[in-house]
């Protein structure tokens, strides 16, 4: 149908009908526009939700990753602390063992120092000391409680002289030393001295003894 024909028909149509047609056209256009507005709004809404979901996923992943790292750090810390504590337990029990050996040895030395057998042990210590000093005129310094022990110093001096080929003389010094047992042997002129009191020997040899004790006890 041509435009001219359409116009003619429209002009011949009653006014009410014409108005109804206009109303329908206006409302149809409005409906279309409304529909577009709503469609666009729904599209934007869907996008907002989609983006929120993506953002939430990223943040959730980040939380899980960070917490997993933190959990791993915490786990490593707990285990490291336990390992340290375990080492301390083992080390302390070994140290206790070594200390026990020293304590027992001190007790026995104390017991020995007040026994009958001590004289013989002391004489041997004096002889070793005299040999180490190379003989000559020597003095022995004893603990106060042993100052009156009857020692055969002449015999020891004779033995030392014989073994070294150096005339040796041994005398008790006037002064005494504070010790559980043992002896200090020195040149009468004071030039050389060997301190073999129990306490000094234990102190001097402690490091080496610890190694040796540990080897005996723990291998």
């Amino acid at each position: 149908m041509s435009e001219e024909v359409e116009v003619k028909i429209f002009e011949e149509t009653p006014v009410e009908e014409r108005l109804e047609k206009i109303r329908k056209k206006i409302m149809k256009d409005a409906e279309k526009q409304a529909s577009e507005i709503l469609g666009e709004a729904q599209g934007r809404a869907a996008k907002v939700i989609e983006e929120a979901e993506k953002r939430a996923e990223r943040r959730a992943s980040e939380i899980l990753r960070r917490e997993a790292e933190e959990a791993e750090r915490e786990k490593r810390k707990i285990i490291a602390e336990a390992k340290l504590r375990a080492r301390q337990i083992v080390t302390a029990s070994k140290e206790e063992g070594v200390r026990r050996v020293f304590e027992e040895a001190r007790k026995r030395l104390e017991a020995l120092a007040s026994s009958k057998e001590y004289v013989q042990a002391l004489e041997k210590m004096i002889e070793r000391g005299a040999l180490a000093l190379g003989g000559g005129n020597l003095e022995v310094v004893l603990p106060e409680q042993h100052a009156n022990i009857d020692l055969n110093l002449e015999k020891i001096a004779e033995e030392v002289s014989k073994r070294l080929g150096v005339k040796t003389k041994l005398e008790k010094a006037r002064e005494t030393v504070y010790a559980t047992g043992g002896v200090i042997i020195r040149k009468s002129d004071g030039s050389l001295l060997i301190d073999n009191t129990f306490e000094t020997v234990l102190e001097r040899e402690e490091k080496n003894l610890r190694t040796k004790i540990a080897k005996i006890l723990f291998t």
Binding site: A30, R44, S61, E67, I78, A82, R85
Partner: protein
């Protein structure tokens, strides 16, 4: 007559504008709802992730504590073994110390 018709048309147009405005209001409501829903989605997912992470962390901690207990238990067992060994070897070690002291040193 034309004037009456024009009035009618203006009325139709007003009706159309009203419809479009209604749609715009509805559109705003839809978008506002979407914003709210988006916030809710984010909040829920993050809360869920936090809960899941806390559970995993707690499980890891318990596992580590169990392992730590085992480590300490083994150390305590070793301590008992050391004490027993010390008892067995005490005499030998004490003799070494006595010999060193009585001989004036030099291990």
């Amino acid at each position: 007559m034309a004037s009456e018709a024009l009035k009618e048309i203006r009325k139709f147009e007003a009706e159309a504008v009203k419809r479009i405005l209604e749609a715009s209001e509805e559109a705003k409501r839809i978008e506002a709802e979407a914003e709210e829903r988006a916030k809710q989605i984010e909040s829920e997912k993050i809360e869920k992730a936090k809960n899941e992470a806390a559970k995993k962390r707690e499980a890891a901690r318990k596992e580590a504590e169990k392992e730590a207990e085992e480590i300490i238990k083994r150390a305590e067992e070793e301590k008992t073994a050391i004490r027993s060994q010390v008892e067995k070897k005490l005499e030998e070690a004490v003799k070494v110390v006595l010999n060193v002291v009585l001989s004036g040193g030099s291990v």
